[in-house]
Symmetry: C2
Subunit: 336 residues, 2 copies
């Protein structure tokens, strides 16, 4: 029995001149089968889809996989039986790539990743749940003590509310450290402002939100610029628009105030099974936005040796942008 | 200035006929520079080592990198300037691999991974700290309620005690679910037995421990077989011995009792910056054990639809095995 999902992949394969598709990336295996592998697993799509997984995971996979399953034994046998040209993912162990390309024509493709960009109603529901869990986790949290203590509290709440793990390493960057967008967490005392970038995972789907707690006029001024950049970017979102244009709008607002050099990352990214998925919303992005995509919009201004401010929300693209995050943005810090 | 570390890498490069080494893998970058990258970063070793990192991470990297640093701009320019033959890692984006191999001879190598197998006194100290944090986290924990609630408690304790994150997704697999070695966590009520597989990260280094809380005679019988397998395996550990032999000893004990088919994974693995590193202790492993390696020994018996038992300790190889874990193994469960 061929599901509609597999049929649509077979269509895309035909369009790209691909006879067999071999899938190693865990997120893609999870997407296709519902089974999140934690050891060597492969999906091969020729006329139908077949999941190979290790003996150790057969039991777990047989409970959760919705495509036929067999034990993984020899990669060479799998590769030998492929029909060419073979579709491969962008990142592969070099030795596997060599084996495939010695036997078959290969075509790097993003068929699964393109399907994953467009979320089904179920996927949107899972993402919304992941967002709700993350938002509820932040409510009434006490922002005091050490950065890692606040993170421990927040992650405890995430897990208690049903997030299997944090969607990524929670960022709590306060004081001068907030000027580093991906600051690793410290055991230093919380200072102001406090950038909190966190997410939950619900049923395999992620959320990714940032809020910045501010304290004074100087921070508030920068906060308002970032907020304006975010709002203007969200306003222009609609199906058919270039992802790079959304980035340009956010960057433009920040540039008007003279902080272009302080906005040192892209405006956003797709989000789903992985925290960072296609499409990217950056200067050089070639993606167009489409209905059903879920993206983040997260401008920021980072002033070295002073502080940084970032605001990040999760957006579903319908006829226009629909914010899935509801948490208020205007948060002030009272450090006792 | 060339550090002793880089000098030893240059030696290995010469032995393998490699002129330039290009490093993409984050764990290898962390090992060489002390900086854990969270975006596109590369280290190139020719006569000296140079770290390229994204604009966004320059500030963070300049605080923590102990090798010279420059901003990452164009991969093509970096590749163009390499001198061949070029040493590459096992797993690479195919497009990058193609670019390198079109311009240069390439040699897949594990120079950095081989260095990483042998831990320095500092690295052993960090691992010991990661073990101590994990062990202290389990002490006095209440094993009741739902699996994910116990995991939330445990991970809260890990983080509060200074673990930047869990070393991996904590496994709490109870009742029938304990027969899946890598069971994903559930929100079901705790049953017996309870397999807990967890680890801390201290200063970038991991621990990885498993304890099984048992309740009755039937479980105790299997527990004792697993314990005997572990003890016998640990007894034969010494420098120069084959890693596969240690696996054979553990597998042999379990086989004697008729459970060979129920030991469905390898006996252990190296541990350090990554939870799973070289050497592997499996049937087909080609590694020999050496002084300074830190490995896990983790036999298990998994009986489908009944239960599973695993015991895992972290071992430093000196003249013989030295257990770094100290937590008692004989743990009984009292579910109220």
């Amino acid at each position: 029995m061929i599901t509609m999902e597999i049929e649509s992949i077979l269509d895309s394969m035909q369009k790209e001149g691909i006879e067999s598709l071999i899938i190693f990336k865990p997120a893609n295996i999870t997407y296709l089968s519902g089974f999140p592998p934690s050891s060597m697993s492969v999906i091969v799509i020729k006329d139908d889809a077949l999941l190979y997984t290790s003996k150790m995971e057969m039991e777990d996979a047989s409970n959760s996989s919705n495509i036929p399953l067999t034990e993984f034994k020899s990669l060479i046998d799998i590769i030998k039986d492929l029909k060419g040209p073979v579709g491969i993912e962008k990142t592969l162990p070099v030795s596997i790539y060599k084996k495939i390309c010695n036997l078959h024509d290969t075509k790097i493709n993003e068929i699964i990743e393109s399907k994953r960009m467009l979320k089904s109603p179920d996927e949107i529901k899972y993402i919304q749940n992941a967002i709700d869990i993350a938002e509820e986790s932040l409510l009434n949290i006490e922002i005091c003590g050490r950065e890692n203590q606040v993170a421990a509290d927040l992650e405890y709440r995430l897990k208690s509310l049903g997030s299997i793990r944090p969607a990524f390493e929670t960022i709590i960057a306060s004081g001068k450290r907030s000027s580093m967008p991906h600051a690793t967490i410290s055991s230093e005392n919380i200072l102001s402002p406090v950038v909190i970038d966190w997410g939950a995972v619900y049923n395999g789907y992620c959320s990714d939100i940032t809020r910045t707690f501010i304290e004074n006029e100087e921070q508030s001024e920068i906060f308002n610029i970032v907020l304006e950049a975010q709002q203007e970017a969200i306003k222009v979102i609609k199906p058919g628009i270039k992802a790079s244009y959304v980035d340009k709008v956010a960057r433009g607002v920040i540039g008007e105030y003279g902080y272009e050099e302080n906005f040192i990352h892209s405006t956003g990214h797709g989000m789903g099974i992985e925290v960072h998925e296609n499409p990217t919303l950056s200067v050089n992005s070639n993606f167009k936005l489409e209905k059903g995509m879920v993206i983040t919009i997260e401008p920021g201004i980072y002033i070295k040796d002073k502080f940084g401010i970032r605001i990040e929300d999760d957006i579903l693209i319908k006829n226009k942008a629909k914010a899935l995050t509801k948490l208020k943005k205007d948060l002030s810090l009272n450090i006792n």
